[in-house]
C-alpha cells in the first residue's frame, strides 16, 4: 500500500474514532437539561443612542472593557473612539488604508487596532504623551485580508486572515510569535476565551477550531455548518462556543463534550448570520443577519424571543448592548440600544 493511501486510511479511521467518542457521551441533550425551564418572555429593545459621524459603511466595532467607550471602523478611512453615553467622539483616527474590515479595543483601554484589505494589523496608542494618536506598530505577515483581531494584552494580539491562518503577535517587536494553521478556508472571525488561554476561529471551510494559545495547537474542530462560519463567540463561562454561518443558522458547541448541542434556526430565516454576541448570563443570543435584522434567541430553549430591525451590516459585541450599523447615502450611524 502506498504511503498516501496508508495515511488516508489512518485519517478516516481517526475520524471514525472521533465520531464514536462523541456519540459515547451523548447520554442527554440540552433540551432535556433545560426541560424544567420556561422560555424567556419577549425581549423588547429600544434604541437609546445613535452615534453619528462616519461617512461610509461601518464594518466593525468593539467595546472597551468599561462598557462605555467603543471603537468603530469605517470604510471612510476612519477609526472613531466613542463615548457611548455622551455620544461624543473621543478620538477620530485617520487610517492609511480605508479598506478596513475589523477593529479591536485592548482590555487596558490604552490601544486600538484595525486592519483589512491591506493584509496588516495596525496598532494605535490612544494614550501617547503629546495626546496625538499615532500608529505604534504595523503587523505585516499575512498574505490575505485581515478579517478579525483581538488583543490578549497591550503586548499581544491575535489576528485572523483570508490566508486561512491566525497569528499571535508580539506587539513590541512587531513579530509573529505563533502561526495557527489548519483551516482550509478563509478565517473570518475569532474570539478569545475568558481565561485568555484559548481562542476560537470560524472559517470558510465551514468549521470552527479551538486553539491553545501557548501550545500553538488546534485542540478541537467543530463541523456541522453547511456554509462559511462568519461569526463566533464564547459562552460567558468559556465552556461553550457559539457560531453564526452563511447557512442561516447559529450553533452552540459544547467544548467538554466536543460536539454541537443545539442549532438556532427558523424556516423563515434564509440569510446568513454576520455577527453575534451572548447576553451576560448566556441565556440570550443576539445574532445579526444579512437581512438587516437582529434576532434574539433563548439559548437554552432555541426559540426566537425578539427581533430588532435595522438597515445594513450589523456588528455586535457584548450582550449588554446591541450595536447595529447603518449605511445610507452620505451618512452612517451606529446605534446603541438597551431594553428599557
Amino acid at each position: 500500500m502506498g504511503e498516501m493511501e496508508q495515511l488516508r486510511k489512518e485519517a478516516e479511521s481517526l475520524k471514525d474514532q472521533i465520531t464514536a467518542a462523541r456519540k459515547a457521551v451523548q447520554d442527554s441533550t440540552l433540551q432535556e437539561a433545560a426541560a424544567g425551564i420556561t422560555v424567556v418572555g419577549r425581549i423588547q429593545m429600544k434604541t437609546r443612542k445613535t452615534l453619528r459621524g462616519h461617512l461610509a459603511k461601518i464594518y466593525a466595532m468593539h467595546w472597551s472593557t468599561d462598557s462605555k467607550l467603543c471603537v468603530s471602523a469605517s470604510q471612510d478611512g476612519k477609526l472613531i473612539v466613542w463615548d457611548s453615553v455622551t455620544t461624543n467622539k473621543v478620538n477620530a483616527i485617520p487610517l492609511k488604508s480605508s479598506w478596513v474590515m475589523t477593529c479591536a479595543y485592548a482590555p487596558s483601554g490604552n490601544l486600538v487596532a484595525c486592519g483589512g484589505l491591506d493584509n496588516m494589523c495596525s496598532i494605535y496608542n490612544l494614550k501617547g504623551k503629546d495626546g496625538n494618536v499615532k500608529v505604534m506598530r504595523e503587523l505585516a505577515a499575512h498574505t490575505g485580508y485581515l478579517s478579525c483581531c483581538r488583543f490578549i494584552s497591550d503586548t499581544e494580539i491575535i489576528t485572523s486572515s483570508g490566508d486561512c491562518t491566525c497569528i499571535l503577535w508580539d506587539i513590541e517587536t512587531g513579530t509573529q510569535k505563533t502561526v495557527f494553521a489548519g483551516h482550509q478556508g478563509d478565517c473570518m472571525s475569532l474570539a478569545v476565551a475568558p481565561d485568555f488561554k484559548f481562542f476560537i476561529s470560524g472559517a470558510c471551510d465551514f468549521t470552527a477550531k479551538l486553539w491553545d494559545i501557548r501550545e500553538g495547537t488546534c485542540r478541537q474542530t467543530f463541523g456541522g455548518h453547511e456554509s462559511d462560519v462568519n461569526a463566533i463567540g464564547f459562552f460567558p463561562n468559556g465552556n461553550a462556543v457559539i457560531t453564526g454561518s452563511d447557512d442561516a443558522t447559529c450553533k452552540l458547541f459544547d467544548l467538554r463534550a466536543d460536539q454541537e448541542l443545539i442549532t438556532y434556526q427558523d424556516s423563515s430565516i434564509m440569510c446568513g448570520v454576520t455577527s453575534l454576541a451572548p447576553s451576560m448570563s448566556g441565556r440570550l443570543l443576539l445574532a445579526g443577519y444579512d437581512d438587516f435584522n437582529v434576532n434574539i434567541w433563548d439559548m437554552l430553549k432555541a426559540e426566537r424571543v425578539g427581533k430588532y430591525m435595522w438597515k445594513l451590516y450589523i456588528p455586535l459585541e457584548n450582550g449588554r448592548k446591541v450595536d447595529p450599523a447603518e449605511d445610507s447615502e452620505g451618512s452612517s450611524r451606529v446605534a446603541v440600544g438597551t431594553e428599557h
Binding site: E10, A24, R219, F235, M280, M299
Partner: protein, 73 residues
Amino acid sequence: MSGKMCSSSNSIIQAQKLVDQLQIEAAMERFKISLTAADLVQYCQEHRRSDPLLTGISASSNPFKDKKTCVLL
C-alpha cells in the same frame, strides 16, 4: 519530473499533518452531555439577575437613558 516528486512529497507531508492533528483531537477526554449541559443551564440561572436584558435596569442606573431631571456634573 522533480516538480512532480515535490508535489507528491508535499501531499504526503499534508496528509501526515492531517493524521497528526486528528490524533490530537481523537485523544481528548470527553465529558457526558448530561453533566455539561446541566452546567450551562445552571450558569444561566445563577447569573440571571445580573443580566439586564432579562431583568431590566432601573432608569436611575441606566447610563443610556436620558435623565429627566437636572444633573449636576
